[in-house]
Amino acid sequence: MKNKKSSWGWFWQSVTGILLILLVGLHMIAHHFVAEGGIRDFQQVIAYLSNPIIILTELAFLISVTVHAMLGMRSILFDLGLSPQWERVVTYGVVVIGGLTVLYGFWLTYAILAQGSAPTAFLFR
């Protein structure tokens, strides 16, 4: 029987997981199967990211994958049979690492767009 604390984690793990099946599928097809030679060069990446819908999809992917990964790592670490204090440390730890990961992803997206003078760079200003 799941307790209340693990239920919210499980719920969001499932929601982001289902979302990720669509987003990972889209990401893999768009980046590695549609792109010529399986990978885009810099100018092709900038052209691809010049579409605001693509940017929003990639950012949704970043947030979903980070939340899913952090909840998953939390769940695996909880399997070590941690004390309640250590479980709290792990929960705060994944929140901090997840937050930093999303911030890095947003910064990286902006840095790439700015580097290539993409018209969609304005979305971050």
Binding site: G38, F42, A69
Partner: protein, 130 residues
Amino acid sequence: MNLYRPELKRFRFLRWFDFRSWRLGMLAYILNRVTAIGLVVYLYLHLAVLFLLAQGPSGWDPFIQIARTPWFLMLDVILLAGLLIHGLNGLRVALTGFGYGVRSQKPLFIALMIFAAIVLAVGVFKMFMG
């Protein structure tokens, strides 16, 4: 055998390596956890490599030559296998968690893994031949 006894809470992960409990359900659970750890490692490697894009064409374009080598493509095959196993097995876990297909978990798992193998075969063909 009830694997969720409270006295087994500490070091529950040791069950992953207990071959005696490797029935289909346990195998699915282990596959989910092992692929999860692999995919998280890959996620951070991927985010680190994408930093090259922030350096412009001089940073990114030389990497493309490496990414198109057969050895690198083999890593992509492992990634695709991990994504398919984790994603489809995870879909089964989510569905059963919401109360769908609880009684047909085993055939569902087998069907999803067969589907994963087919998609992987198509993906490998596309990577190396397409």
